[in-house]
């Protein structure tokens, strides 16, 4: 993450990102555009929640006893890299949150097995009636 983004605030990258957090300590993130989905565990669900409510990495580290600054930055950078979060300069500091859970390193696992369902069909031709058909394979 570039230094300028270390103090950035973030928002969920768009409606194509679905995120659900469960009491058992997992956030599931689904990117409807790329077909990738993610399992976030460890301290990740709490960290994700703080990022999407608009806290900067610095604010998170300052307000979370024992937080590992590199791990926080690394997680935020990964979320940006995976196009799950976007920096948003229009956001302002959120109200202080309730005391959080003890620090734990975030884990993020990425799954790509659904991507083949999103592959575009080959370029299509149009038949005489105006309906598309798969392009004939080239010789």
């Amino acid at each position: 993450m570039p230094p300028s983004e270390l103090e950035a605030r973030f928002r969920v990258a768009g409606p194509q990102i679905i995120h659900e957090t469960f009491e058992g300590g997992e956030t599931v993130l689904i990117d409807l555009v790329s077909g990738c989905y993610f399992s976030v565990t460890g301290g990740g669900p709490a960290l994700w929640a703080r990022l999407v409510r608009g806290e900067t990495c610095a604010e998170i580290v300052a307000g979370w006893p024992g937080a590992d600054a590199e791990a926080v930055r690394g997680f935020a950078a990964r979320c940006v890299q995976e196009k799950l979060l976007l920096p948003d300069a229009t956001l302002t500091a959120p109200a202080p949150g309730a005391a959080g859970e003890p620090w734990a390193a975030p884990q993020m696992e990425r799954f790509t097995d659904m991507q083949d369902l999103l592959l575009l069909d080959p370029i299509h031709e149009v038949d005489a009636a105006g309906w598309p058909r798969a392009a004939a394979p080239s010789a």
Binding site: E20, G24, I30, G35, W131
Partner: protein, 351 residues
């Protein structure tokens, strides 16, 4: 895209679909909670190809003149679409339509699915009904069902089509969730052969009722392969081939063959996530799975396979994953142990 052009095109397609060669009453497909779809087949071939997989659910409605879904065939009465070729996206979904319309065109099966969400009418038009692929014959209307399930004032309860199988007993059912190849069909068919009620092996309807979630059957068909037929020879005796030539993985009709039941609906008790492994132990075993794991097994394949990415769909799946118990099912090589594990699980979950 010009809204009036699309609206006019839908009306032309709808009227053309109604003018098919086959006349007859509509049939009702119940979807629970008072919601039912009125289906009307207007072509002999498409009726013979698509109706059998739905037949276990259909009920005559001789007095009803209208329809919600018209299933038509042929090319004569189907005008060319007003949208450009560039509008077709992944899986033939047409982009850029006015908000009230949904359309897709399957390049492989030459089937148009077209829906007007406002008037709640849909057309499924098979341009080449005589060569419908087996997946269309085994799971008809799959393209339009998610579009027609949006809650209304009269039927406000959430419903969604999910990528999953389901088996059970009168007291309740288990939803089998996982990506293709995870063992859903093997588990569902082994259970059916062992006396469970069959509801689905690949696609099921979830219905959130005030009394709790229900799982409903959509298709009386199932996917089989040669190894499965060898392990479950009852399938050959009890199942009937889906009409038409086989052109891919085989599908059998399980409903209406006078054999173990294909149930219409059961209360949903738990989510089961089958797993196959090349080095599987002989005996199947169940172990608890987290809500997140259950959602990962259920949501991505449902969202991407059924092209249903509405926020309500995700919320409904998350509610199910968050409230129902979930279990990993490590399939054993002995299918009797799979059904024994499911039987024990259902027994432990009975209300």
């Amino acid at each position: 895209m010009n809204a009036s052009a699309v609206e006019g095109y839908f009306e032309a397609v709808w009227q053309g679909a109604l003018r098919g060669s086959l006349e007859g009453p509509a049939e009702a497909m119940p979807l629970g909670g008072g919601l039912e779809l009125l289906l009307r087949f207007t072509g002999e071939t498409v009726r013979s190809q698509l109706r059998p997989a739905l037949a276990h659910l259909l009920q005559p409605r001789p007095a009803v003149a209208g329809a919600d879904v018209v299933i038509a065939e042929g090319t004569q009465r189907l005008p060319a679409p007003p949208w450009p070729v560039s509008a077709y996206g992944a899986r033939g979904l047409v982009s850029g339509l006015p908000e009230r319309f949904r359309a897709s065109y399957n390049f492989d099966s030459s089937v148009l699915a077209f829906c007007d969400l406002v008037t709640r009418r849909a057309v499924v038009w098979a341009r080449e009904a005589e060569r419908l692929p087996v997946y269309e014959r085994a799971a008809p209307l799959l393209g339009v069902l998610p579009w027609l399930l949006a809650p209304t004032l009269a039927t406000p309860e959430p419903r969604l089509v999910v990528h999953g199988g389901a088996v059970g007993h009168a007291s309740g059912a288990l939803l089998l969730a996982g990506r293709g190849g995870s063992g859903k069909s093997t588990t569902a068919l082994a259970a059916w052969c062992a006396g469970f009620d069959y509801l689905a092996d690949d696609y099921a309807l979830l219905h959130e009722t005030p009394a709790g979630p229900q799982v409903r059957s959509l298709y009386g068909s199932a996917k089989v392969d040669e190894p499965m037929l060898a392990r479950l020879p009852e399938l050959i005796r009890w199942g009937a081939p889906v009409p038409g030539a086989f052109d891919g993985p085989k599908r059998l009709l399980l409903a209406g063959t006078g054999t173990p039941a294909v149930a219409a609906a059961r209360p949903l008790r738990a989510l089961v996530l089958p797993r196959v492994a090349p080095d599987a132990a002989p005996v199947a075993r169940l172990e608890p799975a987290s809500a997140g794991e259950a959602l990962r097994a259920l949501a991505p394949s449902t969202l991407f396979q059924l092209r249903d990415s509405s926020p309500e769909t995700t919320r409904c799946l998350a509610r199910l994953a968050g409230t129902l118990p979930a279990f990993r099912l490590h399939l054993g090589t002995e299918l009797d142990s799979v059904t024994a594990a499911l039987r024990d699980l259902l027994g432990s979950l009975a209300p």
